[in-house]
């Protein structure tokens, strides 16, 4: 049971997080909640990316006084670099989304997306 947990908790957890985020975007009416679900999805994906690069019993990819040489086992640094960028991109997009929400709220004075039908298709 333990190694099952160990093996699947990260992948399963991040997929479920993405699932919750996706469900939130599709069903929640409140615009801020949609953006929250978007943030959740981003976090989920980032978690997945780093989990893909994890190596059991390896140490963080930083040479310091403890880990002297690079012959030691390291975790994969590339997904971490990608996630660094993707977190900041996610925040930037969310910031812009929230600014838009404020302006839409000014115009429609409601946060409920279904009431905002200014643009029929």
């Amino acid at each position: 049971m333990l190694n099952f947990l160990e093996e699947w908790s990260f992948f399963g957890g991040s997929i479920l997080l993405i699932l919750i985020g996706l469900y939130g975007v599709i069903t929640r009416k409140n615009m801020i909640k949609i953006l929250i679900s978007l943030a959740l999805m981003d976090t989920g994906v980032n978690l997945m990316l780093v989990a893909l690069g994890y190596v059991k019993a390896a140490n963080a990819p930083i040479l310091n006084s403890v880990v002297q040489t690079n012959t030691a086992a390291f975790v994969d640094p590339i997904p971490q670099a990608l996630v660094l960028t993707s977190i900041v991109i996610g925040t930037a997009v969310l910031g812009l989304g929230l600014a838009l929400v404020i302006k839409i709220y000014d115009k429609f004075s409601t946060l409920d997306i279904s009431k905002i039908r200014g643009l029929k298709w």
């Binding site: 160990e6 093996e7 699947w8 990260f10 992948f11 399963g12 997929i15 479920l16 993405i18 699932l19 996706l22 469900y23 599709i26 069903t27 989990a51 893909l52 690069g53 994890y54 190596v55 059991k56 963080a60 990819p61 930083i62 040479l63 310091n64 006084s65 880990v67 002297q68 040489t69 690079n70 012959t71 390291f74 975790v75 994969d76 640094p77 590339i78 971490q80 670099a81 990608l82 660094l84 960028t85 900041v88 991109i89 930037a92 997009v93 910031g95 812009l96 929230l98 600014a99 838009l100 404020i102 302006k103 000014d106």
Partner: protein, 253 residues
């Protein structure tokens, strides 16, 4: 709308099930699939070249505080990936933040809305004095983080974020604290120019954009990062300025 939510749940569940399938594939002979959790074998990934720092040169062993002038001198391998090997991504990422800050400023200030705004009133005394103490410390911590980006965990983004949090707290504490828009944009532009200028200089001298042209010293020393230190300082100022700008626009929307 109950039925619609239920339908959405089913569809998303099926989607998640399919993605989950990807993880449970048993590869036939010679097939490659997603690695099991914890068993990412770095040997055939480009990451191994980054760890051994032998993308261009063929040095094998890197010993902390001993091996010197490697192709990328940073002890923190993630920083070497972010600022040396894939610095083009980071440049792209900085532009995303820059555009987001510009976008937010436009969206919030294009049409002055006449609705009554939530005005930050005088914060409580505790918060006020607390901020007065923490503010310089936070700035110092931020500075430490991005200066030691190539040695310890952390770097330009994290340092910039800490600085931005410092300014955020300052703005929340006393609303009289006013950062002039002009100064933020100046810092932003200056940092941006430094970064791109660095890249162009690398292009002129070493022949390819964003190439490292400074000596890389010995691993673990303060001045061992080559251009990484300069890049991370520029990033820290830029990210700090932009996030403060975003927060400032949101507060004064």
């Amino acid at each position: 709308m109950k039925f619609r939510n239920f339908l959405a749940l089913i569809i998303v569940a099926v989607f998640a099930f399919i993605i989950f399938q990807a993880f449970t594939i048993v590869p036939a002979a010679g097939e490659i699939t997603i690695n099991k959790f914890g068993q990412a074998d770095l040997s055939n990934r480009t990451a191994s070249r980054y760890i051994n720092k032998n993308v261009n040169s063929d040095s094998k062993k890197v010993i902390y505080k001993e091996s010197s002038n490697l192709e990328s001198g940073s002890a923190n391998i993630v920083t070497s990936v972010v600022a040396n090997y894939r610095s083009f991504d980071t440049l792209g990422e900085i532009t995303v933040l820059f555009l987001a800050a510009a976008g937010i400023a436009i969206v919030l200030n294009l049409e002055k809305s006449e609705k009554s705004r939530f005005a930050a009133k005088e914060a409580s005394l505790i918060l006020n004095t607390g901020i007065k103490i923490i503010f310089p410390l936070l700035l110092l911590a931020g500075a430490y983080i991005f200066i030691h980006g190539h040695l310890s965990p952390g770097g330009g983004f994290q340092g910039g974020a800490v600085i931005a949090t410092a300014f955020l707290l300052k703005m929340l504490a006393d609303y009289k604290f006013e950062i002039k828009e002009k100064s933020i944009t100046l810092v932003e532009s200056a940092a941006g120019i430094v970064f791109v200028g660095l890249g162009l200089y690398g292009l002129i001298t070493r022949g390819s954009f964003l190439e490292n042209f400074l000596a890389t010293g010995t691993v673990g020393e303060l001045f061992s990062g080559g251009t990484i230190a300069v890049i991370y300082t520029a990033i820290a100022f830029k990210v700090g300025a932009e996030l403060t700008n975003i927060v400032k626009s949101l507060i004064e929307a």
